[in-house]
Amino acid sequence: MSHEESPWLSSLLDGELPDAERSRIENHLRRCPDCARELLELRRVKALLSGAARRPLPAELIAAIEARVERRPSFFAALRRLAAAPLVWAPAAALTMAALLMTFWMRSLDRTPDEYVPLGPLLAAHSRYVAESLIPEDNLVAESYSAPDASDQGSN
């Protein structure tokens, strides 16, 4: 049979009783075999549950979470995403390719760049894509985008 102290037995077991309440329940337990027995059974259930098998966190789950929360994806992760979402990436990729080709083409000519290609808008567009995280910075070869300097190309 269940006494009014019964609901407090689990709290006692868990060390979650205020001191005053605890001494009242403990006093009752000394006089009441029913509640003492119930406490014993609750203790067994708790032991069964706390001794249950634990599963280690799977390594692939850690990797999957990290892949989703990484703020700045690696170059290869970006490539994988590029492959997964070609429509989204197409404009950025095309722009990048165009800018690269344009730069090499200009360098192959012995002329000042401002005569030929307005690189400014292309670079601005690229910066915007980078700022909006559409292209990771390491997706680009840095020197391809450095402003043409006087010693290099403007020497004539």
């Binding site: 609901p7 037995l9 709290s11 259930v45 549950l49 706390s50 098998a53 966190l57 999957a64 990484e70």
Partner: protein, 184 residues
């Protein structure tokens, strides 16, 4: 800002992940769903990291998110089915013989452990969700009543009675299953 939030977060995944995964497993009852729950909980925690109060344990906050995702899923499922969070789920009528491969008594210790665990999980799943959640958080994940109240969005008094009732119900279900199927 010098620190890399993604780097800090990796540390948190390693610190709180095991607890989250085991809690999720006991909620969902299977590993694929547990993995999905944990992944979703971490992704949402990361997205709302600004709302996390750093003076409180991260794991409590994470488990609260995970629990809410699970409840959301259950409610969505319940929308098209007859499921109540407070009433016992209709118990699957799987007998001990069906869980056991042989029942001829020559089981290895490991198999026995797994079967006992399966039996315990089955017993827990026959108990109303709110009760077994409180018991899981207390006995398996070692949370205080106050932390459990935070995870389950309820006062400590409610936690107290859910744990007590939950243990009584789990014990009864476990013994019933043992009696029903024990081959020996």
């Amino acid at each position: 800002m010098d620190t890399d939030p993604a780097g800090d977060f990796s540390e948190l995944i390693r610190l709180a992940g095991e607890k989250a995964y085991n809690f999720a497993y006991r909620l969902a009852g299977n590993e694929p769903d547990a993995r999905d729950l944990v992944q979703e909980a971490f992704v949402r925690a990361y997205a709302h990291f600004g709302a996390y109060d750093r003076h409180r344990p991260f794991e409590t906050w994470l488990l609260r998110i995970l629990h809410n995702i699970y409840l959301d899923g259950v409610r969505r499922y319940a929308h098209g089915h007859t499921v109540s969070l407070d009433a016992p789920a209709p118990a699957e009528e799987t007998s001990w013989e069906e869980i056991l491969p042989g029942g001829d008594g020559d089981l290895t210790a490991e198999m026995e452990r797994r079967e006992n665990d399966a039996l315990l999980q089955k017993a827990m799943e026959s108990v109303p969700l709110h009760y077994r959640t409180a018991v899981t958080l207390c006995d398996m994940e070692d949370l205080s009543y106050e932390q459990i109240g935070e995870v389950m969005s309820c006062p400590v008094g409610t936690v107290r009675s859910r744990i007590h009732q939950g243990r009584i119900l789990i014990k009864a279900a476990y013994e019933r299953l043992e009696r029903k199927g024990a081959p020996r």
